[in-house]
Amino acid sequence: MKKSFLLLFAFTLTVNAKGFNPQMQQYINQLKSQAQKEKSGFTDFNAKRGQKIFTSVHIGKRGKNISCSSCHSINLQQTGKNIHTGKLIKPLSPFANTKRLSKVKDVKKWLRRNFNDVYKREGSAMEKGDVLYYINSAK
């Protein structure tokens, strides 16, 4: 019962996602073929896995506990706040901020930087795709 509920939840997350623009879809496809090479049996990215990557706490680049949510907040529809500088961060969810996930160059830049800040390493293709699916679906 619990499992089917989880599956249903994961399903809703995928169904409720906004479509990517053509450039972003191309980037997602690149990540997919990379992920297939990284892990055999890979089928598609998963927003639920992305949520875990996004919200789980790690000892980051500064040697302190940090998660993506530390700055972007738990609710991606809301304004976040940079924990180091105090500067406000516009909502990450494309539902709240249509500029999000629209420019591949910016998306690549922030994934590189923020994985380093939180995980002290770059994200794998699968992790990046999972996170992008999560952000894209977070209502």
């Binding site: 680049k61 380093n116 800040d117």
Partner: protein, 157 residues
């Protein structure tokens, strides 16, 4: 009569002049300003900007790396408009008070900053509305226009 107007125009020029040149580069504004107040190039000498832009992957403990092309463009803009290349009042003061054998990277630890803020208790900077000394615009309401003089200060509670 004409003379008076000329004098008035001249004086208003002095009154309205910025203390450092405001940023007029969209790339610099976007990239520097996405995480913090976009400090004007005229607030540090060019050797400081070179050092900062060389170490962006560890920018005060945070990865702020840019692709090579954007990094070069922004660095060039910051070098051309650095304090030692500027004639604006505050830039000249900063250049004069920065020891030539030092390459400061924190504006808020510089002699000019410390002297200009020496009447404030450090706890003021830690107010929730201010957060930290580097958040210029929290009190200097026209900091984004390069205006830092006391007539344009409003310290929030």
């Amino acid at each position: 009569m004409k003379k008076i107007y000329l004098v008035l125009i001249f004086m208003s020029g002095i009154l309205l002049a910025s203390d450092v040149k405001p940023i007029n580069n969209q790339l610099a504004l976007k990239e520097c300003g996405s995480c913090h107040f976009a400090y004007q190039p005229g607030l540090l000498p060019k050797r400081s900007w070179k050092k900062i832009m060389r170490n962006l992957s560890d920018h005060f403990g945070v990865d702020a790396s840019l692709d090579k092309n954007d990094n070069t463009k922004i660095l060039n803009y910051y070098v051309v408009n650095s304090s030692d290349n500027s004639k604006q009042y505050l830039s000249r003061v900063i250049t004069r008070y920065t020891r030539s054998d030092k390459t400061p990277v924190r504006i808020t630890l510089g002699t000019v900053f410390l002297r200009a803020h020496d009447e404030l208790r450090r706890s003021v900077f830690r107010r929730k509305s201010i957060q930290r000394a580097g958040n210029c615009i929290a009190c200097h309401v026209s900091a984004n226009r390069g205006i830092y003089n006391e007539d344009y200060v409003r310290i929030p509670r």
